[in-house]
Symmetry: C2
Subunit: 452 residues, 2 copies
Amino acid sequence: MEEEIRKEFMELIRLLDEGKIPEFKEKAALCPPVDIAEGLEEITDEGRVLRIFRMLPKDISSDVFSYMTSEQQQLIAESATNAELRELVDDMFLDDTVDFLEEMPANVVKKVLQNTDENTRKTINQFLNYPENSAGSLMTIEYVDLHDYFTVRKAMDYIRRTGIDKETVYTCYVIDDQRKLVGQVSLRKLIIAPESTYIRDIMETNIVSASTTDDQEAVADDFRRYDLTSIAVCDKENRLVGIITIDDIVDVIQDENTEDIKKMAAIIPSDEDYLKASALSLVAHRLPWLLLLMISATFTSTIISHFEALLSGAVVLTAFIPMLMDSAGNSGSQTSVTVIRNMALGEIELRDWLRVLFKEVRVAIISGLALAAVNFLRMILFSSVSVLIAATVSVTLFCTVIIAMIVGCLLPMGAKRIGFDPAVMASPMITTIVDACSLLVYFMIASALLGL
Amino acid sequence: MEEEIRKEFMELIRLLDEGKIPEFKEKAALCPPVDIAEGLEEITDEGRVLRIFRMLPKDISSDVFSYMTSEQQQLIAESATNAELRELVDDMFLDDTVDFLEEMPANVVKKVLQNTDENTRKTINQFLNYPENSAGSLMTIEYVDLHDYFTVRKAMDYIRRTGIDKETVYTCYVIDDQRKLVGQVSLRKLIIAPESTYIRDIMETNIVSASTTDDQEAVADDFRRYDLTSIAVCDKENRLVGIITIDDIVDVIQDENTEDIKKMAAIIPSDEDYLKASALSLVAHRLPWLLLLMISATFTSTIISHFEALLSGAVVLTAFIPMLMDSAGNSGSQTSVTVIRNMALGEIELRDWLRVLFKEVRVAIISGLALAAVNFLRMILFSSVSVLIAATVSVTLFCTVIIAMIVGCLLPMGAKRIGFDPAVMASPMITTIVDACSLLVYFMIASALLGL
């Protein structure tokens, strides 16, 4: 939370503490709900949170509520009267209600559902059943639906009458009598068109829409590609059942990026807030990968043990193992992360694999030559090893950089090819594989060059 | 490019090839401009690209143009007549024109500027001078500006008359006679309000705005935080000079994520498309880090050389160096990437450093114990080493995991504290530092336990 926002919140609370209720309400009404929710988050006294929340102006309290932490939402839901709860849920957008209920224990969900009318209850239950990360779980029902036989005048009247409760009125969706989606029309077009025009004559029919079962990442890609601010979501029969708006998509994009970054660092992704997560929960998301990678790395011990006789003959070789492994690991990571990211952005497709491989091999040859040359000079000039040792290390370096970049390029693409998540094939995985290769190459070249 | 979109584009081109011009134009007008631009990208015959572009319906050609690659934009700009160029630039949004000109050689820029009126030329020149990644370089001038003494009727008339050329009409910005920003009003509010209402009575005055010099990342954070779809950009005197819309911010968010991911993989970020970048250019963005990290890693050689006598006495110790280094590196990466990402998302602030450290130490102790225990059992049960060697390796493993997680936690936060980019302190950097620590700890524990 930024200093400036914190100070403004403190100011707000001071008004309440001094009993200046009208001033508090006036100022709170002008304050962005997300700022109030974040301010509340830092208050640990539950009674105080409840008192402040109850004093908020009615027209912002549901907005503030939807930005609050699950813990504080639960606190408020549990202590609210039935009437208060009914009002709160009535004022919230359905997608926010569903997000809230998803995190609540059974008793709170039951209490909330008992305080909604039968239709809303049915819709909420249906939404709670959409798979996580699907378009269905992300959508809301507060959209403007028009019929193609409406005139612009009738459409505008309808929007004026109901628009205040809609999540967006700027794109209106046109449906037929079976509620099937037949087109969309922007409010911009509606206000410019003559009032007697029929919607069917100005609506766009060639539109992008999503299906409830689509993955949220695919929906986000459509938003990015077509510069959308909202999208219609249809069921299997192409009936309009909801819309998704850009503000939720921005969060999806950020979450998907976080997920990819975590996977690339060998962490099992979770939605938990870092500062709120327990140490044990963090361990649960990291230890499995650490264990797996540690056990895979024992393969390197086997290789070294196998060449123990060789190493006894030239202990000096040991000194360069870490540098060789690190350089190979770093080159491999650079390549794998580049390939993974470009695949995620759709810049590289699987059918480009040969082009990518060819490019990476060229990069590897140039990088490998440069690294090997610098290393050779450094060893000759600044350390007391023989030219043969320097040559062994440098040739190994060249070879391992090439192997690392090829592995770093092919592994993520191979993972995607067989339906695995390529992000898992990033640095840690590549490093483990490349380490074993580097050692093998090192010992083979040493045997050959040094005649050991 | 997805198969389905490619097929649709091929279909479109077929119409043109068969001379069905009206059908082509009709179909092209319904096709998303970005899809046409991507289709054109795959055509290598320059004459063919020009012929197709010239046949596009006038009202979509400028949209298609702004999605095209710089190479193809240059091709079209160079072969266009002055009249064609004038029309193209007139139809484009100013932010797209600026993006296009930024990539053009001087002769094309000159040709374009010669074909714009003096006012536009001045504005373009001014926009070209905003620093890269600033709000100024991102904004456009096609916004709706209202005066606070307008009535709703007058405002709506103004929007109806000029709205077709605006990038968005859904948020209108209210200025005073000095063009200073005094508020904003949504089109939703305008259509609901009575026609005789004054704008000053319904506008919001407590609004979030940006300054031309703000970093685009900070602007994107405001969009995310406050669920904006557009933002006003003001100069130093608070005069409204432009707006930024959410579609450009979505690209910024994606670009900033890509940049962070590249930095974390020790790659110098660039805007170049991977498939179009030359191998040499890729090398230029990777080799500096590889060289730096390689040279830093020679520190590990020094440590090993120093303990050569110890190693000669127990060559078996060498076998576990890679596993120890990898495990330490992986633990360090997990922590550093977690900290870096949470700082980027604003979930961790610098003042949380003690909480973060405390959490990471607990995670490290639990993970370290688990890894050490598993490793000890594995070595005792499945390899022929003595209990003392197994103990040496396991105790080292425990210690290095703790060191790695502490380094992985403190380094990115320290970097941010002194104004460096924390993303640089990710896996490769941490690995190099942690490797040296691991080796030192290993040899010290070996000396102590084995009495070498």
